[in-house]
């Protein structure tokens, strides 16, 4: 009998890609679902596995959660927006 998944423990996050990373993945956003508790690092691993081209993303990219830089061990919640940011080159 398959294990049942409690929907309350699944998080769906919106992932955004920018600049060179968007070119690598061939898209500017995606949605991934993963079991809670989950971290930004878990989102990165999932993206690198699931999307063609995303394997060329660094294992430890700069990331933001909900418009603020976050470390890879930061927790993500259902509904969060996680962005993977190439090295910043503004100004």
């Amino acid at each position: 009998m398959p294990a049942t998944v409690n929907p309350a423990t699944l998080a769906t996050v919106r992932v955004r890609f920018f600049a060179r990373y968007a070119e690598l993945v061939g898209r500017s956003e995606a949605e991934v679902s993963l079991p809670l508790p989950a971290t930004v690092g878990d989102v990165v691993r999932r993206v690198r596995e699931d999307f063609p081209g995303a394997g060329d993303l660094p294992e430890r990219p700069l990331a933001a959660v909900n418009l603020k830089q976050a470390k890879l061990d930061a927790r993500v919640q259902d509904g969060d927006e996680v962005a993977l940011l190439p090295p910043i080159a503004g100004g």
Binding site: F18, E23, G53, L67, I88, G90, G91
Partner: protein, 146 residues
């Protein structure tokens, strides 16, 4: 408030935003698209950004700066899109009662922009190639499949 624009930057407009009779010194910084000896025939740079985060992060960054220099009046604008050589991509204006505060606040903001504001640039070159710039100012290595 928006800190982003796709139009040419106007120093005069930013100066007007911070102007105050109590400020005796104003420091302005302009970052411009360069085609120097270290570049390889750059004609323009295409600036892109995580726009929502840029707005949020500039708000936090300026709050930090105002915490350090409470008397300073600071304004900043980053331009996005294709910017030709010689034109400004960023303009920062910091006015303060005294010049040391103005210089320090202005310098603080541009250094923090380079660390914190999610903007990226792609060099457009005379030979038709397009190269992402890495933060040290040198082009990033092209991924193998591009």
């Amino acid at each position: 408030m928006t800190y982003l624009t796709r139009d040419p930057l106007s120093v005069d407009r930013l100066l007007a935003e911070v102007s105050s009779p109590t400020c005796g010194g104003t420091s302005v910084f302009l970052g411009t698209v360069r085609n120097g000896p270290d570049e390889h025939g750059v004609t323009a740079i295409e600036y892109s950004a995580y726009e929502d985060m840029v707005e949020a992060e500039f708000g936090r960054l300026l709050a930090d700066a105002r915490g350090r220099w409470p008397e300073a009046r600071i304004s900043v604008r980053h331009r996005l899109g294709t910017i030709p050589v010689g034109e400004a991509s960023i303009a920062i204006v910091a006015a303060a009662p005294h010049r040391a505060q103005a210089f320090e606040a202005c310098r603080y903001v541009i250094e923090a922009v380079k660390q914190r504001i999610p903007v990226w640039k792609k060099e457009l070159r005379t030979d038709g190639s397009e190269v992402w710039v890495d933060p040290s100012g040198r082009p990033a290595a092209k991924p193998s499949h591009v």
